[in-house]
């Protein structure tokens, strides 16, 4: 793990994207369904997932979208990125969603559909579950 941006603990199934996410433009603020047909998560909901994606893009106002999906009970349980960006960092901070960044190798090992436990206070923050 590279950085802990927002502390916390979460257990769930990975939803992984190889593409950056623009929260302001492409995530529905009520349902958290991705509505950009060019995105590899098109029509998927982020609700209750461990969302793994490279980084966020687009306006910093996208942080409010992250806060909105949390208020509407459709937010991810945690987010794991490869690079830090301030929009996702502040959005997760507003919404109290655990957020960490990981190395390229760790990012590759986080495969779609796998169950993991993320605990930022643990010496081994990411554990793969059976």
């Amino acid at each position: 793990m590279k950085k802990i941006l927002v502390k916390g603990k979460a257990k769930g199934k990975i939803l992984k994207s190889s593409k950056p996410i623009n929260f302001l433009g492409t995530v529905d603020k009520k349902t958290s369904i991705i509505n950009d047909e060019h995105h590899d998560l098109f029509k998927k909901s982020l609700k209750d997932t461990i969302l793994v994606f490279p980084y966020g893009i687009g306006s910093s106002v996208g942080a409010y979208t992250i806060y909105s999906i949390k208020s509407n009970n459709s937010a991810p349980l945690a987010m794991i990125c490869e690079k830090v960006d301030l929009t996702v960092a502040t959005g997760c901070a507003l919404a109290n969603i655990p957020l960490v960044t990981v190395s390229k190798e760790e990012f590759s090992s986080l495969e779609n559909g796998k169950n993991i436990l993320l605990d930022t206070e643990s010496s081994n923050p990411i554990t793969f579950l059976e």
Binding site: K3, V6, A63, A89, T90, A93
Partner: protein
């Protein structure tokens, strides 16, 4: 990042949910920018005011936190979407007006000064040199660092709000003393404020955190603001240094070729249907100067002038607003050319302005074309 015991306690929620959220924002921002600690700040300036930009999600968020949040330091505020005095003349829908008023009320409830201005450096007293502040408005952050001897990073709406609520900011990037990695040699002779805006836009594109400029003459207030507005529009840079000899940094030129590239990117029309002045908003000095230059003249088309309410009140006392109205100007306070909902593409094809910042947002946000001219050219061509 190292936190004090009190900061740790706030982060754990022992000082309430709002403080916990504010510290989460500071820690996330601090970790993202490799800060080693938090430091006190004396003044926060917030963005995220215009309903046009923050939308329903922002309005709901502010309404929710304003019930329990109070700012700890002096906190000023960016422009909103309209001037309350004249909003009825501009065909805004009721939803926009009520949401904007809700945002205004939320900020006031938190103890924020309702300045609705992007030029806090012209309407408030400047603290003593070296003071740490937290400015989210890009042109204001750049002006504070480059001309007012203050220290701030280019804050986000959220980090500045967190700083207002806690009185602290992450100690990173421009808050420390660091020299620029890049020097731009200004090669254009007899520059107007429009030229400085284009130089700023170019600097923001090629620079990283700060840029050194050499070969620059004495700039007036209008040119300084134009330089800062241009830089804030195009990148992440938030400081100019003005050293003639900086052997340490890489050097590039800003000459006709570079200037024309910026001009061709932002100038998309040969003429405009209306004129806007003020992005950044005009200060008292610019308004006074304009009143003198417009003596005996009047605009041939609509001319909208944007300034802070405090400036408009002073200008009215001095008799300037009467003169400007006589020359055909509409004077608006509390709002700005930048991201205004008052200029719409179904009503206007193109706007003439001397503002690089205004040009960028008129094209990209409002979808109208832009005709760029210096103020002198505007007065020459557009008045009789």
């Amino acid at each position: 990042m190292e936190l004090t015991r009190e900061e740790e306690s706030a982060l754990k929620g022992e000082q309430g949910e709002i403080m916990q959220m504010a510290y989460r924002i500071l820690v996330a921002t601090g970790e993202a920018t490799d800060a080693e600690k938090l430091i006190p700040i004396e003044w926060a300036h917030l963005s995220g005011v215009n309903y046009n930009t923050i939308g329903d999600a922002g309005e709901e968020f502010l309404s929710s936190i304003s019930k329990g949040a109070k700012v700890k330091v002096k906190t000023s505020l960016n422009p909103m979407g309209f001037d309350i005095d004249s909003v009825s003349k501009y065909n805004l829908d009721d939803n926009f007006i009520s949401k904007q008023l809700s945002i205004k009320q939320s900020y006031e409830q938190m103890g924020v000064i309702p300045s609705f201005s992007c030029i806090p450096y012209e309407i408030f007293d400047i603290p003593q040199g070296g003071t740490q502040v937290s400015f989210a408005e890009s042109n204001a952050a750049i002006h504070a660092n480059s001309f007012d001897n203050l220290k701030t990073n280019k804050e986000s709406a959220f980090s500045a709000l967190a700083s207002a609520l806690t009185g602290k900011s992450p100690f990173s990037s421009l808050r420390k003393e660091e020299s620029s990695k890049l020097t731009i040699r200004m090669k254009i002779e007899n520059p107007s404020e429009l030229t400085y805006g284009m130089l700023g836009f170019f600097a923001g594109k090629v620079g990283d955190e700060s840029v050194n400029i050499s070969g620059i003459g004495k700039m007036d207030t209008r040119s300084c603001k134009s330089l800062c507005g241009g830089m804030g529009t195009s990148g992440t840079c938030a400081k100019f240094n003005f050293n003639e000899n900086d052997a340490e940094s890489e050097t590039i030129d800003f000459d006709e070729k570079e200037m024309n590239e910026v001009y061709d990117q932002l100038n998309t029309s040969e003429k405009g249907d209306l004129i806007t002045l003020g992005s950044p908003q005009l200060g008292l000095e610019e308004i006074s100067d304009l009143a003198v230059r417009l003596k005996g003249r009047s605009f041939k088309k609509r001319c909208m002038i944007f300034c802070p309410r405090a400036v408009k009140e002073q200008a009215t006392k001095l008799g300037h607003t009467e003169k400007l109205k006589g020359a055909g100007c509409e004077i608006l306070s509390d709002c700005c050319t930048c991201l205004t909902p008052l200029i719409r593409k179904d009503e206007v094809d193109a706007v003439t302005t001397n503002s690089i910042k205004g040009a960028y947002y008129l094209k990209n946000s409002n979808g109208v074309d832009v005709n760029l001219k210096s103020l002198s050219e505007i007065i020459e061509d557009e008045t009789k």
